[in-house]
Symmetry: C2
């Protein structure tokens, strides 16, 4: 039996190897071209790093679907399920004709490009200065360039998704998923903004917002290979559900980490969500338990708050059972998400999807 | 023989009738739903007016292609060319199977939604206060909401374009045109911004910028019905070229009107492009003739400039032949665009496409 540390190490290694492939593909799909300043700004955050969790989920789900040994298949010439009949439980959707291979990396880059577009525009909206350890795009460049860079990535993501070489029926479905996902992300971001002015948000409302703002892109990432490779609807739905579950768990864990990880490890002030009155599942739960959440921290300035103030606030949230509530919710979502993967062939790639789900809530930061 | 006034009146009437249909369709395709504030902001400019020239070009091109009497066909159940063989010169692309009818109005609304998204984000970038006689979205709402409203319209345009019911091969091609069009609009807007800091922009560079920023959406509007209805490549290319030509002519005419139409008719200060040092084909040409364009108007404040100053500047631009140059360029582009329509059946809708082209440069404002 492997230790938790060894398992986490193996997950990180698997993610790292896929990240390298994705990093190689990004400049191929999104070269710096004229007008250079626009494309440099569009690439700025993509080049600054990121774990590439969403493309990793996408590529790994593809590997599991076609029963490929992880990292052995060429993502650019990825075997499809068309006409293959049944592979270890996963049947192709309708026996429709289609290509023998598609470029699955295009789909992986596309979802990462969407993620990057949302980060650029979100940083403008939140007026955040830093992202991934570098200045936000509207700080490094300017507001105009940042808006345009986001808009450029938006359409580029659609262009790239159209290049997979999948059969038109599948390509149309993939594009539809991408478009509705983007709409939901906007709706979720809009809800998040309105929540900042409300003190009566319920846990269910909060979870709905997280589903739209964060989880739908994980859901799209997980189900898109099934759509493009030609899997049946049951498989597509199961993978979509897996993505929604782990995406929500990911965000809840982020909320917990903001309170529990030392500032230097977190890369920003611990408890900044509390200071900035951002709603989290923890504060929403605490308020329902009668905690006066607005008074937990006096200041609204992250530079002025003390570690002692944060310690006291966290102690009060723990006493109300709110951190435990969030931890349990994240664990339940991950367990539910993993269960959905029963539809996939029992292979190493599916194990990795289990492990990624666990990692999202076990990670220290 | 009809008088120019009677012809312009007929064009305006034809545009008005299509505009009404488009106006009816917009709330159907983009209903106000939760979160309401987001969708209200997304609809704000669409509801504030606009000539709907791009959807009108799209619907009229569709009518000409299938040889329909203008305004008699149901845009929601629009007959296609699939399997119809040859209609008066326009052959279907490859005899591919496809539906008998598609929802062409979806495509028309989609391009108008894209246009509205670009206006919302452009107004933020230019920090403009007014649009279509109402406050810009970032003024009526706020910066965050305006960015998000634009982003929402962006993905909604793709969703709506996916609802036409066209055969998947055609839908994929239409989506590709929409995505590459959006990318070019961003590139054009980026060029426009960088031009403001340059004094050596050539007419060719300026025309390239206008092509990307403005004309490609006309080109997409003109060719999308051909793509969706299943016309051949020659027809698609000809309509795309028509759109590029009339789109560039439209922008050049806008530049001329900014100098020649009284402020009260223009709805803003006449000569504001000069005051704000915006490049136009006129200033770019004048600079090549040795005119010191930067000194034509002393102030950078549209509220401080006098009519006499504008008069003197216009006189100097006229003496340099720059206004005549722009007028001639617009006329040539319209003539070229009309010539391309030779591929269409000789019918009333094609006449209307000719007349729309003429109207774009003959309109008084």
């Amino acid at each position: 039996m492997t230790t938790p540390e060894a398992r986490e190490e193996a997950v990180l290694e698997a993610v790292r190897k896929r990240r390298e492939r994705v990093n190689d593909a990004i400049p191929e799909e999104l070269p710096i071209q004229k007008p250079e300043r626009l494309y440099e700004a569009s690439r700025y955050l993509l080049d600054a790093g990121g774990k590439r969790l969403r493309p990793t989920v996408l590529l790994t789900a593809g590997e599991s679907l076609v029963d490929a040994e992880p990292l052995t298949a060429d993502y650019r010439e990825f075997p499809t399920l068309y006409g293959a009949g049944e592979i270890d439980g996963v049947s192709s959707s309708d026996g429709a004709d289609g290509p023998d291979a598609i470029d699955l990396m295009d789909a992986a880059v596309s979802v990462e490009v969407i993620q990057s577009f949302t980060l650029i525009h979100d940083d403008i909206m939140d007026d955040d200065d830093l992202r991934r350890g570098v200045p936000a795009v509207h700080r490094e460049y300017d507001l105009e360039t940042a808006i345009l860079a986001g808009d450029t990535l938006y359409s580029k993501a659609f262009e790239i998704m159209l290049e997979t070489g999948a059969a038109p029926e599948r390509a149309v479905e993939a594009l539809d998923i991408l478009a509705t996902t983007c709409t939901k992300i906007c709706e979720g971001q809009s809800l998040d903004v309105t929540f900042e002015e409300r003190t009566d948000v319920t846990p269910d409302e909060y979870l709905e917002m997280v589903e739209q703002k964060t989880a739908v892109l994980y859901a799209a990432s997980a189900c898109l290979p099934a759509v493009l490779l030609g899997a049946d609807d049951e498989t597509i739905d199961a993978l979509y559900g897996y993505g929604l579950d782990i995406g929500r768990a990911f965000q809840i864990q982020d909320d917990v980490l903001d309170l529990t990880v030392p500032s230097e490890k977190l890369g920003k002030q611990r408890g900044s969500d509390l200071v900035e009155n951002k709603q989290t599942l923890i504060t929403v739960h605490a308020r329902e338990q009668g905690v006066d959440v607005e008074s937990l921290v006096d200041t609204n300035d992250v530079d002025a708050v003390t570690e002692a103030e944060i310690d006291d606030a966290v102690a009060e949230l723990e006493a109300a059972g709110s951190i435990g509530y969030a931890n349990e919710m994240a664990r339940d979502l991950v367990a539910q998400g993993k269960e959905r993967l029963e539809v996939l062939p029992d292979n190493e790639a599916r194990e990795l999807l289990f492990d990624i789900a666990d990692y999202l809530i076990e990670r220290g930061y």
